[in-house]
Amino acid sequence: MRTSVHRGAQALLVLALAVFGLTSSASAATVAIELCAVPGTAPLPGGGLVPIWGFGTPTTPGDCSTASAGLPGPQLTATAGDVVTITVRNALPAGHTVSFEIPGVAFNPGPTDAASGAAVSRTFTAQPGTYLYQSGGDAGRQEAMGLSGALLVRTTTPNQAYASATTAYDVESVLVLTAIDPAFNAAPETYDLHNYRATYWLINGRSYPDVPAITAATGQRVLLRYLNAGYDNTSMTLLGAHEQVVARDAGVLTNQISASTETIPAGATEDAIVVVPTGTPPSTHGFALFNRQLHVTSGPQTGTSPIGNGMLVFIHS
């Protein structure tokens, strides 16, 4: 049985066990994750590709030519108490240093950066919550190019986000919110950031209708793990249901908040639970969850009724 107390001692124990090959599934594990920071492309809503820099998992360990950049990066998972080591290899164009960080996570002491062509390893003991991992290199330009992703640390209690029983859920949905200014992505090294103006609004790298719907039945508890990887505070409205905000930046709220529109600050994460309402059966398309800041459309808009290729997703049965 895993325990959430005495993590420091537990980590030492785990390390000792690991050295002697005695770890088992019944105790906190050591988790090794390898990522590559690589250039690539991502599809844009409405067609076309935009150059990105993203994290990817190499299919051949140590060989970043076998990794493809994701927008967002691969979803990383660990269990509370795990000792996690993330090794990041820098395969970005020459001259760019990767500075790996996970706000809210205290890494063990060690180097922070990976020079071009080099790697850096960061180790930490996982605490429950929703975290954004990213590269802070080039004063924010690397994040804007797409170098970020979700790290989920789950508790040892199945289907419960945090120690509090109020965070129990039936369905988990991870929503990485990102924005793209294609003009910036075309010239990430030289673009004048005063002119940065995102025009594409994405959930998990996609826009409606390409974002998979969140499927849940009436009465089920849906855990929405919001991660705002963009540069604007982002307000998301949920129609026809309420959400209970239970955690911010991986910290459980003592006083939970009932909301229908929640603002996720830039760089922040939030966890909210939606109980799919009873009484009115969800329609085939259910409950809209959408960006309330006039970003339900992406790209140049000249149509008479543009709607729907932006930050929008539905919860339905």
Binding site: T199, S260, T261, H285, F290, L294, G303, T304, I307
Partner: protein, 429 residues
């Protein structure tokens, strides 16, 4: 109820508005009567007939902006839409008639079980499977749709367009819905400690306008909201100093709602209850709105009382309200005479600032030229003195400075004043 609703739609379609005229009754005796505070549309059957129509608003710098908005079907264009006041737990019917050149609709964020023409409110798709609206809409030019729901928990909510959202929200299709606790019209929520003073209720619906988008829509030109930049910032569809004008000011025919808070100091015996302000953000960015002078107690968020599972009071005092896009906050506010300044017994131990520091708009001042509540002194003759009886005025505005301007010119925009009269009331001097 459903049959009644269907009949209404038919009547609307067939007889073009005439059939449903008796239902909506204004709280105020006359639509043209000037007043202060929240101006509610109410109805004994909680049935409201709204028309989406175009019109113009004026801005303090002399501009005239083409808008789309909801109005009562019995009245002309207004911005924002009528403030609908209803009782929690009772059915609400909103009939939307559309005179705009494109389909439009209403979503009610925070309300559960909304129906449209008797069916569950749900997104709409065209024959090709593309999303056309977040909810059933009223077709362009002469369409109608009827929404019904049971009013949710007490507090304030936005109602706003669910069609062509990015453009139509910018164009002005939004309004306030105030849900009152059953049997307690002078409470914000079901908690007795949310009681407010009779008549001291205020709606601050915050929004913004990019005049270029509005001009493009007026000229039937393409609109690119991703390149939009708002220049006007408003409370209840008005910018400072129009925010200070009373409700139904005849010189603002399309902008009937004022935003002047007008109270007396707290007194445990004579004035024990606070005022309430409903903050609603219908815009696209957060507005860091704050009053100068005193904190406000936030008691509701998105129409839900801030309380714990067993009723613990989780309200909190806040200086900057910072309501986010699509969000609502309900607050209680009062003003307490903490210092008790008195010219003879407790004089202010500093020099009163020069009048030139107190000019708000052009040569207009609201300052009494005295720090003592109830004392009014002469001001230089080149100034326009708006102070009546030595009352205090505290500025309240968005702290984002471009939002406190009219197209960049200060002061203006999302700004108003809170007026505090002497305890005995205001006798003009």
């Amino acid at each position: 109820m459903r049959r009644l609703t269907v009949q209404r739609v038919l009547a609307l379609t067939a007889a073009a508005l005439v059939a449903v005229t008796p239902v909506v009754v204004r709280t105020q005796a006359s639509a043209a009567e000037m007043s202060e505070g929240a101006l509610c549309d109410t109805d004994t059957n909680q049935t409201f007939s709204l028309t989406a129509r175009d019109g113009y608003i004026s801005t303090p710098d002399g501009n005239s902006i083409y808008m789309w908005s909801y109005s009562s079907s019995k009245r002309g264009f207004q911005l924002p839409g009528p403030t609908l006041c209803v009782e929690s737990g009772r059915p609400v019917t909103v009939i939307l008639h559309n005179t705009l050149p494109e389909a439009t609709s209403i979503v009610f964020p925070g309300q559960l079980g909304v129906k449209a023409n008797g069916n569950p409110a749900q997104p709409q798709f065209d024959s090709g499977g593309s999303l056309t609206s977040l909810v059933q809409s009223a077709p362009a030019t002469d369409g109608s749709v009827t929404y019904t729901f049971t009013a949710g928990s007490p507090g304030s909510y936005l109602y706003e367009t669910g069609t062509d959202v990015d453009k139509q929200l910018q164009m002005g299709l939004y309004g306030a819905l105030v849900v009152r606790p059953a049997g307690h019209p002078n409470q914000v929520n079901d908690r007795p400690d949310s009681a407010f003073a009779n008549g001291k209720e205020y709606v601050y619906l915050l929004s913004e306008v990019d005049p270029d988008v509005h001009l493009a829509v007026e000229r039937n030109q393409p609109v690119d909201v991703n390149s939009s930049k708002s220049r006007y910032f408003m409370i209840n569809g008005r910018s400072m100093p129009d925010t200070l004008a009373p409700n139904n000011a005849p010189w603002l025919p399309g902008q009937p709602y004022g935003a002047l808070v007008h109270i007396k100091p707290y007194d445990a015996v004579t004035n024990p209850l606070p005022a309430t302000i409903h903050y609603l953000n219908a815009g696209s960015v957060n507005y860091p709105f704050h009053p100068h002078g005193s904190d406000e107690r936030v008691i509701n968020r998105d129409g839900h009382a801030l309380q714990g599972p067993s009723g613990q009071d989780l309200s909190y005092l806040k200086y900057d309200l910072d309501v986010g896009p699509g969000q609502t906050l309900d607050v209680l506010m009062d003003w307490r005479d903490v210092e008790h300044w008195n010219a003879t017994t407790n004089p202010i131990p500093t020099q009163i600032p020069a009048i030139t520091d107190q000019l708000l708009v052009g040569p207009d001042t609201w300052f009494s030229e005295s720090g003592y509540l109830g004392t009014k002194n002469a001001v230089p003759s080149n100034l326009t003195q708006n102070n009546e009886c030595g009352e205090y005025y505290h500025i309240a505005h968005s702290h984002a400075l471009e939002q406190a301007t009219n197209y960049g010119a200060a002061f203006g925009g999302m700004m108003t004043v809170f007026r505090i009269d002497p305890p005995a009331g205001c006798v003009s001097q």
